[in-house]
Structures are given as C-alpha cells and as structure tokens.
Amino acid sequence: MKRHALSTRIWHWINAVAFIVLFGSGLTISNAHRYLYWGDYGFDPADAWLAVMRFPSWMTIPQRYDLAEARDWHNLSAWIFALALLFMWIASLINRHFWRDVATSPGDWSPRRWLEVIKSHISGDHEKPAKFNPLQRIMYGVVLGILLPLMVFTGLAMSPGFEPIAPWLVDLLGGRQSARSLHFLAAWALAGFAVLHILLALLPSQWKELGAMITGGKKESRHG
C-alpha cells in the first residue's frame, strides 16, 4: 500500500481547486450583504452578531464585484466539492484509510502526547512515523468529518429550492440565517486549516510528504 492511495490523492487536489474557487466566490457573495445573523431571519445590520469586513478585490472571484458571476462559480464548484467529498468518504471507508489513519484511539486524546508531538516538531528531531500523529488525526478528523460536511449541509440549507426536500435540516442548523453564519464560520476555519496545512507542507523536512501527495510515495512497510 502506498502512503497515500490514488483515491486520496485525486480527491485532495480536486478538493484544493474546488475550495479555492468556493472560497474566493464566497467572499464576493459575503460582500453582497456583510452582516451575519442567528435564527430564521435577519436583514437589519442592527440585529447582526457580526458586521463582516468588505473583502478586497484581489481576494474575490471574480475580481470586480459581480454577485451573479460569483454565484455561478460557487454553485458549479459546490457540485464538484460535494460529489468529491462523497467519493472520498466512500473510498476511505472501503480502503480503510479512515479507520487506519484518521480514526482516533483513546490514547490520542492525551494533552501530554500532544505536547510531545509539538516539541519534537519544534526541535526537528522527530522521526518520520509511518502513521499520522495524534494531532494530525484529530485535525484531519475535524476537517474531514465535521467542517467539510458542514459546508455542504449549511450550503444546502440556504437554498430555497432545496428546503422543501429537507426542512428539518434548516431547523437542525438553527434556521436559515444560522446556517448562513455557520457556513461563513466553517469556511474561515477551513481557510485557517489550509494555511497551516500549506505552511507545514512547505517545511523542508516535509518536502517528501508534498511529493507523496502527488506520486503516492513509497510503499509503506508494515513494521516501518
């Protein structure tokens, strides 16, 4: 078995492109009404829990303010993002990637282990383990299991044409405007993860890992 299965690598790069387009076009959509609310309704800035900054044009897709075109990019890449996520989840359950690499065991939840992992990373003397460390398992678990699916479900909950299919979903998320707020928060949590993820991948000690996400890497030894 290679370090990263072909399905994982295909999903990783498709997801990376879809996420960039979704995030950039999402910032344009955010610029259309820069206030976030909790509950079912909200239109008055006085009722907003957050007044969002206006995102500058170099961050947005498209670069001029064009809500219709941003929605076109957003809604097209949402299909790619959601179907790829579904494909990745099915593949990870079938090829046991999820159980082997992501699912945590009780030992992973020890703050002492986390400190050890961080210390060994800072000192740079950690050996390349065959498996993910506890912090990686937890972070990837939160991203794959919570944040990415939450983007899909909060996105669906904002569609008035989808709502008659599953009105309970909108209620479960606390109402349409709550779904919108959660969509925004999860998007920024994912952007934060992406920045950290890219910075760590660009550390010289990780270059092999970056290559492995493209080629699949060396076959992993069972006892390595």
């Binding site: 239109f43 709502e163 405007q177 919108r180």
Partner: protein, 249 residues
C-alpha cells in the same frame, strides 16, 4: 522596497485563481457549464421533492419585525401616485398571452376569489431573510380561469416599475406557476401591501429567491418562450446582471 515586492508578489499569487476564473467566465465553456449547473439544481430539487412540496410556513410570532424594501421602492410616475392616493381603485391585472379567455381583473375581483394566507420566509439573493404573512389568490386559479393553452411553457409577470430605465419583469415555468404557494399577494401582515414592498400586487414564488417575486404587478402572460421579451433571458436581473433564471439556489 523588498517588502513591497514581496507583498505585491503574495497579492499577485492570491489573485491568480481569481484572474484565471475571470478569464474562463468570459469565454464560452464556463458559461455553458454554469447553465448546465443551473439545470442540475432544478432537476435535483424536483427529483428529490415533489413538484408541489411546500416551502416552510411559520407561526405568527415567528414573523420578522419588518420586511425590507429592496430594488424598486416605488413607481416614479404620476399615474402610480394617483392610484396610490385613491387606494388603487382603478388598478387592473391583465391575464393574457396564450390563453383561451383573457382576463382583466380589479383588486376587488382578486379579493373575491378564494384566498390563501401563508407566513413564509423571503430570501434575498444578497443573503438576508425576512418572514411575513402574505394573502392573495393562487396563480393556478387565475390560469385555470383564463384557460392556459397547451403551447405555453412559461408565465411572465409584467410590472409597473422600472430600474435603470428598464421595465421590471420576471418569469417562471409551469411547475412553479401552478405551485400551491404561488400567489398574487395583495396583503402583507394583514394590511394592504406597502409601497416599498410592491403595492398593490406582488407575486410570491416561495421556493425561489426574492428577485422572482415581482412587485407592482400589472400583467400575467402565458408564453411559449421568452426569446422575444426584453433581453430574452426571462427576467430583469437575468437580462441586466446575468443572474440565474432558476432562482432556487
């Protein structure tokens, strides 16, 4: 100096996908994909829910304190001012196009029809929402009385207001036209619709975004296609800003 270069480079890197997207959107294939995605949304929504599946309705105490006025906030003509002053006593709603019996209805005629009252949420394409109670006859009732002909594929809504010097109009297909919550509202929260919200008549198309809910309604027209109507894309915002004709997402 070095710092400026580095910052410019970082900004340039971040802007790269945006610039690539702009380039793609302005060439053919991306536009075709956008249109295809719009069809997938409509097909998926209709495959997963029944054609008559209802948008959620709320309890009276769940209404928002107001419903924001957006887009046109009035009709800037002396005729409209006069109508507003006399309580729209002479306002007519014309039902025509591909129908067997064209109708011309007064507000009193519309109020004499069976009424539907619904407390629903209005979602603007910009992102905000408001909840209000709307009352009026179902569009299906008018279409049945007018006798829509087989060749009709869409219902076009004609409006009294103009934006950027162009007449506002909108359209839906027959599924949404015959949906039980598609009503011609004349009351908002138990009162005649205020000027900013589209007095005296406004469409409610509850499974779609706000720009479908045409205000200051003057006419309903059954058509085979909207190729020859204004910009040919089926609605004001569709023509002016290239907004999606199917506004269910």
């Amino acid at each position: 100096m070095a710092d400026t270069t580095r910052r410019a480079m970082l900004a340039g890197m971040a802007a790269l996908p945006a610039a690539a997207c702009t380039e793609l959107a302005e060439t053919g294939p991306a536009g075709d994909l956008f249109d295809a995605a719009e069809d997938w949304h409509r097909a998926a929504h209709r495959a997963l829910a029944s054609r008559q599946a209802l948008a959620p309705e709320y309890a009276p105490d769940e209404r928002s304190p107001d419903i924001r006025g957006n887009g046109s906030l009035t009709v800037d003509t002396p005729e409209y001012r006069e109508q507003l002053a006399n309580g729209f006593a002479d306002w007519r709603l014309e039902v025509g196009g591909l129908v067997a019996n064209p109708l011309s209805l007064s507000l009193a005629d519309l109020k004499a029809l069976p009424q539907r009252t619904q407390i629903t949420r209005h979602d603007c394409v910009e992102g905000w929402s408001a909840i209000a109670e709307w009352t009026g006859p179902q569009l299906s009732r008018l279409l049945d009385e007018a006798g829509v002909r087989e060749e009709a594929n869409f219902i076009v809504f004609r409006c009294a207001d103009t934006l950027y010097g162009r007449a506002y109009y909108e359209s839906v297909d027959m599924v949404d036209a015959y949906h039980p919550q598609t009503i011609i509202a004349h009351e908002l929260n138990g009162e005649p619709i205020p000027e900013k919200n589209g007095a005296p008549l406004r469409m409610r198309i509850e499974r779609q975004l706000g720009y479908k809910h045409a205000k200051y309604l003057t006419g309903i027209e059954a058509v085979a296609s909207f190729d020859d109507i204004h910009g040919g894309k089926g609605g004001f915002w569709e023509d002016v800003g290239d907004y999606q004709w199917y506004a269910g997402i």
